[in-house]
Amino acid sequence: MSLNRRNPATPLPRGQRAVLSIFIAFNIVATTLWAAPIRSRNVRRRRPVNGVAWYLQWAGLGMGWAFFAPDPIDTYYYVTSEITYRDGRKDTWKFPGPEDVGVYQRYFMGTYTAWSSQIIPLSESAPLWPDAARYVARLHNHPENPPTTVKLIRHWKTTELPGSKDLSNWSEYEFFTYSVESKDLE
C-alpha cells in the first residue's frame, strides 16, 4: 500500500503526511478521551450521540481499559436453572462455569465465565434473561414431556479479607421465571 512504502531517501509526500497526521492525532485524542476515567460508567455506556463515538465503536477503538478497576470484583456468581416439565417433574441445570472443570478445560471457559458469572446474574442484564431461559428449555426439550417453566436462580458469595468476619456462605435468589411456549422449542 502506498501509504507506507518508501525508500528511506524519499519520505511520504507532504500532503499524504498531513492527512495521516490528522488521522493519527484524531485517533489518539479520541481514544484517550473515550477511555479516560473522567466520566461515570453509566455515561460511557449510554447511547452514542455523536459521530466520534460511532466511529470509535464501529472501528473497535472505543474500548475501556478499566481492567480490575476501579476495584476487582469481590463477589462471585453462578446461575442454576430449575426446569418444570408438563407432568410436573422438576430438573435442575447449572450454567457451565470454570469451577466445574479442570485446569486445561478452564482455558475454554472464558466465555462462560463472563456469561454465567458476570452478565446473566446481574439486574442490568434483564433483557437477556428470556433468551437464556429459552436456551435452557431447548436444551431440556423432550417432545413427549416438554418443559413448561424455567426459573433462573442466582448464587453468590463475597470474598472476605483474611481475619475479617466470615460472611462467605453461598446465598441464592430466584430472579427470573419464564413460561415456555411451544415456539420457543423449535
Binding site: 500500500m1 501509504l3 507506507n4 512504502r5 518508501r6 528511506p8 519520505p11 511520504l12 503526511r17 495521516l20 497526521s21 493519527i24 489518539i28 481514544t31 484517550t32 477511555a35 476515567p37 447511547r47 452514542p48 463515538a53 460511532w54 465503536q57 464501529w58 473497535g60 477503538l61 474500548m63 475501556g64 481499559w65 478499566a66 481492567f67 480490575f68 478497576a69 476501579p70 476495584d71 476487582p72 470484583i73 469481590d74 462471585y76 462455569g97 470454570p98 485446569v103 482455558y107 475454554f108 472464558g110 462462560y112 465465565t113 463472563a114 456469561w115 452478565i119 442484564s125 433483557p127 437477556l128 433468551d131 437464556a132 436456551y135 431447548r138 458469595k157 470474598t159 479479607l161 483474611p162
Partner: protein, 410 residues
C-alpha cells in the same frame, strides 16, 4: 521555531521509514493468537453464535446502537452458514500468520473478529478487544513486507531484492501508542478504586473463584499482597510512560512481561496476557533485531561448527531467484552463499567450473551434498520459516558422492 522542531520530531516519529521487522513479527504473533482464540471458541461455537445461541441475534441488535461491523447479520441463520463462518475466519487467520495475501487477510481477520465481538459483546474479554484494536491499525501496516509468503513470492519473481524495503511506521506507532496509553488509563481507572489505594486489590483478584488457575503461596499474606498491588500499579504506569525512554524500555518491558506471566499463571483470563506480551515486539528497536538474530544463530550453530554452503550457478533466472529466496529465508545468516561464477567461486576454485555441479543449486552441509528441492529440505533446520519441514530432513539419505564439497571445506 518550536513548532518547526515539533513538526520535525512528529514526522520523524511517525513517517521516517524503518525496517518493517517488528510489525511483521507482530503479525505472526497476532495471527497465532487469533488461531488460538478460534481453537478455544470452537467447542462452543454454535452455543454462542449459532441460530439457537444463548443469546439471539435480534436480542443483541437491541443492545447495539450505532453502526457496527457484524457479518452475522448478513448470513443465513443456519448451522451450515455459522460453521462456514468459522472455517473461513480460520483460513484468513492462517493466511495472515503466514503472510499470504497479507493485506486482504488483515482486513478479513479484522472484519471477522469484529463480528464475533459484536455478535455477543458480553462474552468478549479484554484480550479480544485489544486484538480488535490492534487489528484495526494492522490493516494499514506493511504486514506482508517481511517474514511472509508474499515477500518470498515477490523475491522469487524478481520483483523485490534481498533487502527489505523501509516503510513509514505510523501504523506500528499507533499500536505502540494505544498500548502505552492503555497502560496509563488502566492505572488512572484503578486509582479511582479503594482497594488499589489500600493495597488489597490483588487479594480480591487472586480470590475470584471463576478466575482461579494455579495456587499462589502468598495469596493470603497481606504484606505480600500489598506489595504486589502497588508493584502492579508501578509496572503498569512504567509500561505506559517509561517505555518511551530508550535506556529503560527493555527493563520496563521485561517487568511488564513478568507481571503478565504472573497473572497468566494465577488467573484464568484466556489469551489476554499473551496479547499484551506479543504487542511488546512492536517496541523493539529495528537495530536490535540483527543483533538478536546473530545471537540466536550462534545458539543454533556455534562458530566452530561445520558451515553450511549454498553453491549456486546463476546462469538461469530460476537459480538466481531460488538463491534469493534462500537468502531471504536465512534470517539467522547461517548459510554461506557462493556463486560459482563470481569472485567467491574463484576463491574456492569453482569459477568456470560450473559444469561440475550436478545441480545448479547445491547445499553442502555436514550431512552431505544435496541438490534441487532436497537442497532446500536439507537446509530447513537452519531456516525458521522452513522449520515445519525440518523433521523431514532427517529422512534424507546421505549422498554417495560429496564432491565438490570437500574442496569447499578447506
Amino acid at each position: 521555531m518550536i513548532l518547526r522542531k515539533l513538526t520535525s520530531k512528529w514526522n520523524r516519529f511517525f513517517f521516517e521509514p524503518q525496517p518493517p521487522t517488528a510489525i511483521a513479527l507482530f503479525r505472526i504473533f497476532y495471527g497465532l493468537l487469533i488461531i488460538a482464540q478460534l481453537f478455544l471458541l470452537h467447542p462452543q461455537w454454535r452455543t454462542w453464535f449459532g441460530p439457537h445461541a444463548f443469546m439471539g441475534l435480534d436480542t443483541m441488535n437491541r443492545f447495539s446502537t450505532g453502526p457496527r461491523i457484524n457479518l452475522f447479520v448478513l448470513l443465513p441463520r443456519t448451522d451450515f452458514a455459522i460453521n462456514a463462518f468459522f472455517w473461513v475466519f480460520l483460513f484468513f487467520a492462517v493466511c495472515l500468520t503466514l503472510g499470504y495475501m497479507s493485506r486482504v487477510s488483515s482486513v478479513a481477520v479484522f472484519l471477522f473478529l469484529s463480528s464475533i465481538i459484536e455478535r455477543n459483546h458480553f462474552i468478549a474479554n479484554g484480550g479480544e478487544n485489544i486484538m480488535r484494536l490492534a487489528g484495526f491499525f494492522l490493516m494499514f501496516a506493511p504486514v506482508g513486507a517481511a517474514f511472509s509468503v508474499d515477500r518470498l513470492l515477490r523475491v522469487s519473481k524478481g520483483q523485490e531484492g534481498i533487502e527489505v524495503p523501509a516503510y513509514a511506521p505510523w501504523a506500528q506507532r499507533m499500536i505502540q501508542l494505544e498500548m502505552s496509553v492503555g497502560y496509563v488509563l488502566t492505572v488512572l481507572w484503578k486509582l479511582t478504586g479503594r482497594t488499589w489505594w489500600n493495597g488489597t486489590a490483588v487479594y480480591y483478584a487472586l480470590h475470584m473463584s471463576g478466575f482461579h488457575r494455579f495456587p499462589v503461596p502468598w495469596a493470603d499474606n497481606l504484606v505480600a499482597i500489598k506489595l504486589a498491588t502497588w508493584l502492579t500499579l508501578m509496572i503498569e504506569f512504567s509500561a505506559g510512560i517509561l517505555v518511551w525512554n530508550r535506556k529503560l524500555r527493555y527493563p520496563v518491558l521485561a517487568a511488564a512481561a513478568c507481571m503478565h506471566l504472573g497473572i497468566e499463571y494465577s488467573m484464568n483470563i484466556p489469551l489476554f496476557e499473551w496479547v499484551m506480551i506479543s504487542s511488546f515486539v512492536t517496541f523493539v528497536y529495528p537495530s536490535d533485531f540483527p543483533r538478536f538474530w546473530n545471537w540466536v544463530g550462534h545458539l543454533l550453530v556455534p562458530r566452530s561448527a561445520f558451515r553450511t554452503f549454498v553453491l549456486h550457478d546463476d546462469a538461469t533466472a530460476e537459480v538466481v531467484n531460488a538463491a534469493r529466496v534462500l537468502r531471504v529465508l536465512d534470517v539467522f545468516r547461517l548459510l554461506h552463499f557462493v556463486e560459482v561464477r563470481s569472485g567467491d567461486g574463484l576463491a574456492y576454485g569453482l569459477a568456470g567450473n560450473s559444469t561440475t555441479l550436478e545441480n545448479p543449486l547445491l547445499v553442502i552441509s555436514s550431512r552431505g551434498v544435496y541438490g534441487g528441492y532436497l537442497a532446500i529440505l536439507s537446509a530447513s533446520p537452519l531456516l525458521p520459516l522452513l522449520w515445519p519441514l525440518s523433521p523431514f530432513s532427517l529422512l534424507l539419505r546421505r549422498p554417495r558422492r560429496a564432491a565438490p564439497a570437500v574442496a569447499i571445506q578447506r
